[in-house]
């Protein structure tokens, strides 16, 4: 509702002010991410179909970037009426972007998914308003919990101020300047220490073997991606 509640933000958004765009992006990005991960149903070629959502990895980041890029193009910004809530408008852009890419013979967003071209499965739902939620598989839950244990092991080994840095930046998402104020550091010091912290975190996950072991993740991605091409698609 921020664009409806703050006229100056709406004006800045319409002008394409970077600060305004950034604020709008930060406000809505999680909603769009959840929408893209959950998937949705739509009609195509006379069939009701379900897109089961993006998997993790680069493809979701590429999709988010592409959707916001389109949403922030001048035509899209100026087409938003500023009267109705922005979220449904944005999610429609997301939906159309995904559908168009799914139907393309040479998809752009989905080329990061292994297993070849992305395809769709026939929808078993009859209610057009039902959005199929993506439920986590037991293996995904197990993997996330395993990673959580590795994260906790990393955190427990940090000295208190670095742990505080981790919590403020990673978890609370505070800006570097605000983090610095709380820890008594300059912004530059926060950035430098943060870079070291990130590198240490990466090394920790590498040393724990998580990044390089063979695992179920690849097979899940492939299994989920191989479905049937729709007739009538292509661009």
């Amino acid at each position: 509702m921020i664009l409806l509640e703050r006229r100056e933000l709406l004006d800045g958004f319409r002008r394409g002010d970077r600060t305004a765009l950034l604020e709008v992006y930060r406000y809505f990005v999680r909603d769009v991410a959840r929408f893209l991960t959950a998937g949705f149903s739509f009609d195509s070629g006379g069939q009701r179909c379900t897109f089961r959502g993006f998997r993790g990895g680069y493809e979701i980041e590429a999709a988010l970037q592409e959707i916001f890029r389109r949403a922030f193009e001048e035509r899209a910004r100026l087409s938003y009426n500023g009267i109705d809530p922005y979220k449904p408008y944005l999610l429609r852009i997301a939906r159309n972007t995904v559908i168009n890419d799914l139907k393309s013979r040479h998809p752009i967003l989905f080329r990061f998914r292994s297993g070849g071209a992305v395809i769709l499965e026939p929808c078993r739902e009859t209610d057009p308003d039902v959005v199929v939620s993506r439920e986590c598989s037991p293996e995904e839950v197990h993997e996330a919990r395993e990673v959580a244990a590795l994260v906790e092991a990393f955190l427990s080994a940090l000295e208190p101020r670095m742990r505080a840095l981790f919590e403020l930046r990673f978890q609370e998402g505070l800006a570097a300047e605000e983090t610095g104020k709380r820890l008594g550091w300059t912004r530059a010091q926060v950035r430098t220490r943060e870079a070291r912290l990130r590198a240490s975190f990466l090394e920790h996950m590498q040393a724990a073997g998580y990044l390089t072991r063979a695992g179920r993740a690849a097979s899940i991605a492939l299994t989920g991606a191989v479905l049937a091409l729709l007739a009538g698609g292509g661009s």
Partner: protein, 260 residues
């Protein structure tokens, strides 16, 4: 998995993506590699999951990005300050490096500081000059499959390319393919005529035009391509794509082929 993955530049880029904001060139290289490399894609997924779990906990990590991921994507969009590149070059002073017998400095360093332009909102695959290729194999019967390095290209098949560029660009760059090896060849490609940011490259590369066995195919995009001799020279020894890109001042993707 290519040589770039085994502790090479591509894997380093994957890791670097989670440590700092990459610039447009680096993102272009990373993206091009992730399209083709399942191992690095999986590594990326795991790093992203680890980062998300650290940020939002295991229950929310599947569908909620963490703050760093959100910031990363904001950087991709050009919404943040561009990462400034600090280049330090050693310059001779009057042809000589100044040396001090007792001082800590053995030479005089003159820093050359350059910063990237703060551009417009950046489309995916930024910067504006970015171009990426997708490679498909088409069988004699017309069946299309995405090219994979471990799957051979057979006689009678041909390669089709699809090229993507930044939507803000008005014209397509010049395109070329260079087959490296003992008898390197340059294949001049026709640029698409479409105004869309993603289009098929006219024509195809027949398997018959490629040497049998393993081959490295370099896909080049540049505002203006040099003569064939310089292109061939750039791929001598089959260097990493980044090195070829630097030599030619072009966008370069390397494709590993096995031709039967």
């Amino acid at each position: 998995m290519s040589a770039q993955c085994i502790g090479g530049s591509a894997r380093k880029l994957v890791d670097e993506r989670f440590v700092r904001l990459l610039d447009g060139d680096e993102r272009g290289h990373l993206e091009a590699h992730l399209v083709a490399c399942a191992a690095c894609s999986e590594r990326y997924r795991r790093l992203q999951l680890a980062e998300r779990v650290a940020a939002v906990g295991p229950e929310r990590a599947v569908d909620e990005p963490g703050s760093f991921e959100i910031e990363r994507i904001a950087g991709d969009l050009g919404l943040l300050e561009s990462p400034r590149r600090l280049r330090i070059e050693w310059l001779p002073i009057g042809g000589l490096f100044l040396a001090a017998a007792t001082a800590a400095l053995a030479f005089l360093l003159l820093p050359v500081v350059a910063s990237q332009d703060e551009g417009e909102l950046l489309p995916r695959g930024a910067p504006v000059a970015d171009t990426t290729f997708a490679v498909y194999v088409v069988s004699a019967a017309g069946e299309v499959r995405a090219h994979r390095a471990e799957e051979p290209v057979r006689a009678g098949e041909h390669l089709k390319l699809r090229v993507s560029r930044a939507a803000t660009e008005g014209t397509w760059p010049q395109l070329s393919a260079i087959v490296a090896g003992t008898e390197p060849r340059v294949l001049r490609l026709e640029s698409p005529r479409s105004a869309d940011p993603s289009a098929s490259v006219p024509g195809a590369i027949a398997a018959g035009a490629l040497p049998r066995g393993r081959a490295a195919l370099y896909l080049i995009a540049a505002p203006e391509l040099p003569e064939d001799a310089r292109l061939i020279d750039a791929v001598e020894g089959e260097p990493a794509a980044e090195l070829v890109a630097k030599k030619l001042e072009a966008r370069v993707q390397r494709v590993e082929l096995v031709v039967e």
